[in-house]
């Protein structure tokens, strides 16, 4: 894991429970396929000023079941360019998978105390979140090794590619043995 990926500092955009994928990116924008185009409409219906005011590295914090609803990968993709990490008490599983797959960091943590506008520093190596505004510290639930490997590779595609390279190298080595 590179240093930039393990350490994230940013300002909090706080959301409630059950933020669904229609709230993250409305259905009418699903014809768009690039993260830049999608980012212009992130949270458009629920926080109309998000897209114009988000600063690269800002942090989305939410309650239970973030990303419930559709399987649209457009949802994490709409956040990927600007959002440093999404922290929620829990995630809907398809969103969770999609985020990991495309390399958008997501972690589960009790977010009750975190408030809109707080400045957080997330240290993924240590598994800690420091709330610099409130001078508080929270612990992140660790991921299983399998998922950590995908995150460390930067997403599922680089992970699969690395493995394929590894396999072909092993195959070559076997041949030359």
């Amino acid at each position: 894991m590179t240093r930039s990926k393990a350490h994230i500092t940013g300002r909090v955009w706080k959301f409630g429970d059950n933020v669904d994928t229609d709230a993250i990116i409305p259905g009418k924008y699903l014809v768009l396929n690039s993260s830049q185009d999608l980012a212009k409409h992130a949270f458009e219906n629920v926080r109309p000023n998000f897209a114009s005011q988000v600063i690269k590295g800002d942090i989305v914090v939410a309650g239970e079941n973030f990303g419930c609803g559709s399987s649209r990968e457009h949802a994490p993709l709409a956040l990927k360019d600007n959002v440093g990490i999404v922290i929620a008490r829990s995630f809907a599983r398809i969103f969770f998978r999609n985020a990991i797959d495309i390399g958008l960091p997501v972690v589960e943590c009790d977010t009750t105390e975190i408030e809109d506008g707080d400045i957080l520093h997330v240290d993924l190596e240590k598994g800690k979140i420091y709330n610099e505004t409130q001078k508080k510290e929270y612990t992140i639930s660790p991921f299983p090794a399998f998922i950590r490997n995908i995150i460390e590779a930067g997403g599922l595609v680089p992970y699969i590619k690395n493995r394929a390279q590894l396999k072909s190298r092993e195959a070559r080595e076997l041949e030359t043995d």
Partner: protein, 414 residues
Amino acid sequence: MGQTIAEKILSNSAGRVVTAGDFVEAAIDVAMIHDITGPLAVKTLYEITDRVWDRTKVIMLFDHQVPADSVDAAINHLELRKFAKREGILNYDVQEGVCHQVMVEKGHVLPGELVIGADSHTCTYGAVGAFATGVGSTDMGVALASGKLWFKVPDTIAFNVDGKLARRVYAKDIILTIIGDVGINGATYKACEFGGETVEHMDIANRMTLCNMAVEMGGKTGIVAPDEATAVFLEERSVDGDFTLGSDEDATKVTRRYTASEMVPVVAKPHQVDNVVPVTDVEGYHIDQVFIGSCTNGRYEDLKAAAELLEGETVARGVRMIVVPASRTEYRRALKTGLIDIFTDSGALVEAPCCGPCMGGSFGILGPGEVGLSTSNRNFVGRQGSPWASVYLCSPATAAASAIDGVIADPRTH
């Protein structure tokens, strides 16, 4: 130790015995992509390799924005057509209808198979005993490239429904009642196994309605053990499968019990699917649009239930009613049996098979302040158009009764 259906299917696909909580790499039997999520999946595929792993196992169709309703949609269709041609995969294009309906009705899904679709309601296929689940575009791209995907083997919740449904109470009322009970998060990452006497007596169409909405309580998949009804359904499609599949007696699962005879027609109020109340709580509420269709309730059986109420009646003034059969096959059945006549006589608009107003990206979009009553599966803010519109979810019979009365109505009074 016994296994659940989900554990059995994933064990088979992973090539070793697995239990809930294990991470597995499993072989995919069938993969489905559509016009919305397809382009990103194809992009991912070509980032990894230059060919689909097995062209006979990939099925493509367009249903969300058909016929193309914008230049962007048309470009997506064009690119996917090129992809299908290049790879030699089956492309139903805009002709057949909603993906989940088409996959099951054409016999592309068999009991015991591991099926993925780049759409969250892929869980619908559990109605014929498959482990089917929705994935995002990157997962789909990886599966298209390698034929394999990672899964965490889910725990199982068994929803046991016993007894006989009262008049004008349907599978949609059962699943909404269950979701209202466990909540939008109540089955997160679980396999939802639907069983009991009521489900055993259900046809595949109604089982599809149940499984379709498993994802609305967070479920990884919905599943009904295959039986005689499954066998007959698949025989009609000239496909065969394992109809003995079922969870073992001593498999680990949580069981929740429901009594069908106690259930009543219900609606999910805005803006969350678990906001479920008896229809009598919202009787007389204002509506602007009624939509009957979608992968939840756009089948012949659903259209028939609605037409029974609408026959000889007219849609109330001030209300728009849109009927969209889920597939060309279901459309034709409805046409031949006179249901389409009943709808058009009553003043409803009947549109060609597609997702239609369900996801608010195509036609039938609700304006600010408008109220929609819909037989589909989601009522989130902005789902069917304006973020200032509201959507109530219900069964086709409740939708039809309400269209006649011009306000939300109890179908039992008709």
